[in-house]
Symmetry: C2
């Protein structure tokens, strides 16, 4: 069996990477979404292992020390990260795994694993601002701060192999799906099948 692909989907807040990930998961049975870990308290409606893996600060620190975190960061005094073990287990079973993560975390994963890295851009900065304002949950100051961060993060796009401009969700999901299909047709990923074809019948 071929090992699966590790897909890193990143981009600034408001680019729509969550929606695109959901669309892609609906299309592909062999694609798994990586579940993040956090030290923050579990909310009532959340499930351990589904929304997050919930860890104590000591447990989280031990995973970092044991090199068991593909990436991690601290926001508002709480740790968030991607545990390596479930990802590697899925890949070894032949599943593709998608990490939908922040730009800084994506950097860490890309430096440590073979990834198919895809950056999602909004169609324009104006549209990004409109999307962030439509969330109606943040002050002008917070939105302006997010836009500044987004502009910084978007400078990373040229380090990514693929870029998908999320103008229309359906078109963008279709592009992502094609990227996965194409990556799975790379000669280096199907050497076993190729050997089977080339093996002479006698």
């Amino acid at each position: 069996m071929n090992k699966g692909l590790l897909i890193v989907l990143s981009g600034p807040s408001g680019c729509g990477k969550g929606t695109l990930t959901k669309g892609l998961l609906d299309n592909r049975d062999t694609l798994k979404l990586s579940v993040s870990a956090t030290t923050r308290a579990m909310r009532e409606y959340e499930q351990n292992g589904v929304d997050y893996y919930f860890y104590s600060r000591e447990e989280f620190q031990k995973l970092i020390d044991d090199d068991e975190m593909l990436e991690y960061a601290c926001y508002n005094g709480q740790f968030y990260g991607t545990p390596k073990k479930p990802v590697v287990e899925w890949l070894n079973k032949g599943y593709d795994v998608i990490l939908e993560i922040e730009v800084a975390g994506a950097e860490q994963v890309r430096s440590r694993m073979n990834t198919v890295d895809i950056f999602v851009l909004p169609p324009s900065l104006e549209e990004l601002e409109r999307r962030l304002r439509n969330r109606n949950s943040e002050s002008d100051e917070q939105i302006n701060a997010r836009l500044d961060i987004a502009q910084e993060e978007m400078k990373q796009v040229k380090c990514y192999c693929y870029t998908v401009i999320n103008d229309d969700v359906k078109t963008a999901v279709s592009a992502l799906d094609s990227i996965l299909t194409a990556e799975k047709a790379k000669t280096k990923h199907i050497l076993k099948q190729i050997e089977d074809v080339l093996r002479a019948k006698d």
Copy 2:
């Protein structure tokens, strides 16, 4: 405007690359099929510039000398090749161009141009033999010679970026289509669109 992609589709005789190319051309308005050149006589039903570019031996030799052939070879005393000029003109106009060519010719093009190279394999050697025999046009000896050549040519597959195993035509055309879509989503191909997104509004 972005320059188009130069697709090299190759594989042994009987792998079905002609059928796949036709299927791909039906899907994509922006894809052009490169027309080969030859010194052999034009047949009654053929059109110059459609089936082949028909050249005299002197004209063909001059194109070789002027470095105007992307690849060429001699079969049965006649020259066959791919003129560079129409290919480069289409690419510059933003069209993708597909070369459906023999393995030896593909080697020449890949060494000279940036290509998206795709090798087409039959699902098995037995199936390749069956397909060649079903053509009913050749002696056992000729078919055995073709099979020997095919086995030699298939050793090149590991030099190609992509490999498509042509088990089912529809699935194989869809894989080719995804490869083109994915290649067009590579960051290096859409730097202008990315610059447009990143340009601040003020």
